[in-house]
């Protein structure tokens, strides 16, 4: 039976439709395999060949990959939550309550979104500590470290903007405090707060601005920077792995 499936798969892979999508074909030579990576818009960010040691748990603890997983969970659950959420006052709060008590699986998706957000912040920090203590930020990877720092900021901004959206007391006061921190910037502080909130107080304009930042601008920035971050791994000579101590 498995051999029939395998034969059938081979037949599909040899078909014209398959070959028009995946040009590298079905061969298993090194050339075919590297072409399969090079000619894929997503995979071509990565190296064609890596040392098997890189895939061990020890060098990375898989922290970067786990961060990416939480990001994917956040995108998927976030898009689903958007179908029931109106970014308006005071409907935002009742939409959040509806998601918890009325919408099927709403409470599951909302909690998944929230816990993944916490996990992502934690994993980003853990990933940075791991990179730092392994010395993987050193040349030639210094620019990728810089991109990583910007990604940390984007992650924190995503958390912060998402915090306002339930429009409850916690959200309101957290954003009041946060926007007043922005006000402390010399000279431009008050203007920055005004632009961030779209007014002088945390109100409907602020909710809408935070919503657009949270759902469009910051995720797009994150996707772009993540793509560069992964591409730079290949360009900077692959993941940093200390020389094995084993003989």
């Amino acid at each position: 039976m498995p051999s029939t499936i395998k034969r059938e798969l081979e037949r599909i892979k040899a078909s014209e439709v398959w070959r028009s999508i995946f040009r590298s074909g079905s061969g298993t030579s090194n050339l075919h395999r590297s072409q399969a990576v090079q000619q894929n818009v997503f995979l071509h960010l990565f190296s064609v060949k890596i040392r098997s040691r890189v895939l061990d748990f020890k060098p990375t603890w898989y922290l970067g990959a786990l961060t990416l997983c939480t990001f994917f969970i956040l995108v998927a659950t976030g898009i689903l939550l958007m179908f029931y959420y109106h970014p308006s006052v005071p409907q935002a709060y009742s939409d959040m309550k509806d998601l918890q008590f009325v919408v099927s699986s709403g409470v599951f998706l909302r909690n998944l979104h929230r816990w993944s957000a916490h996990a992502m912040v934690f994993l980003v920090f853990a990933h940075m500590f791991k990179v730092f203590y392994r010395g993987a930020y050193r040349p030639p990877r210094q620019f990728n470290w810089v991109i990583g720092v910007i990604l940390l900021l984007v992650t924190l901004l995503l958390s912060y903007t998402g915090y306002l959206l339930p429009w409850d007391q916690l959200a309101y006061w957290a954003v009041t405090v946060g926007s007043n921190i922005a006000k402390a910037v010399p000279l431009a502080g008050s203007k920055m707060r005004f632009l961030l909130l779209g007014g002088n107080e945390v109100n409907a304009n602020a909710l809408l601005r935070f919503y657009v930042l949270h759902c469009v601008i910051l995720p797009l920035t994150a996707v772009l920077l993540i793509a560069i971050h992964f591409w730079r791994i290949r360009k900077d000579g692959g993941l940093h792995v200390p020389e094995s101590k084993k003989p």
Binding site: W173, S179, N180, L195, G198, G199, N200, E201, A204
Partner: protein
């Protein structure tokens, strides 16, 4: 061995390049090219600054649907002598002190939380980071960088205490009724 030198002498491409180099000084297109390059760069800079201003203007709302700064606090007899009354809606304290009525802003000067009057402590306390103020708005504890602001109070023609939240007084002022 001077193979490299011989090749350089015999190589027609290198020879051409050297004549091109010598002609560079009298290239009649260069002035025009440079002009257009500068013009292009200049217009890009102008367009960039314009886009920046456009973005800034677009993101600054011209009309705001926010509460007006002047609020009607209430009739004077609503505030018994010695009382400190918070109106959470407008974020002000109306205080009936020995010298008369005065109003304080209730928004903490640290990070903008709404403070609360604690009668048992005889203090105004902020729930966020623990700043405390006395009934004159002077900070007695916590991280608040400034005292609570004194606001302009007056008695309206129909006998209401009015407060202008945008008018912060430099010196203490009391309203006698």
């Amino acid at each position: 061995m001077s193979n490299g030198k011989i090749e350089a002498q015999n190589n027609p491409l290198i020879g051409q390049q050297s004549t091109a180099d010598s002609r560079k000084g009298e290239c009649e297109n260069c002035g025009r090219r440079e002009f257009f390059a500068k013009l292009g760069m200049g217009s890009l800079i102008v367009a960039g600054v314009g886009a920046g201003l456009f973005t800034y203007e677009y993101f600054s709302p011209n009309v705001l649907f926010e509460a007006p700064p002047i609020v009607k606090a209430g009739k004077p007899d609503q505030f018994p002598p010695g009382s400190v009354t918070l109106d959470p809606q407008s974020g002000i304290y109306m205080i009936n002190g020995p010298k008369g009525y005065y109003a304080l802003g209730a928004i903490c000067t640290h990070l903008g939380c709404l403070t609360a009057w604690k009668p048992d402590l005889d203090l105004i306390a902020c729930p966020c980071h623990g700043s405390r103020f006395n009934r004159d708005g002077v900070k007695v504890a916590g991280p608040a960088p400034q005292p609570l602001p004194w606001l302009k109070v007056w008695l309206s023609d129909d006998g209401y205490l009015m407060v202008d939240r945008s008018n912060i007084l430099k010196a203490q002022e009391f309203v006698k009724v």
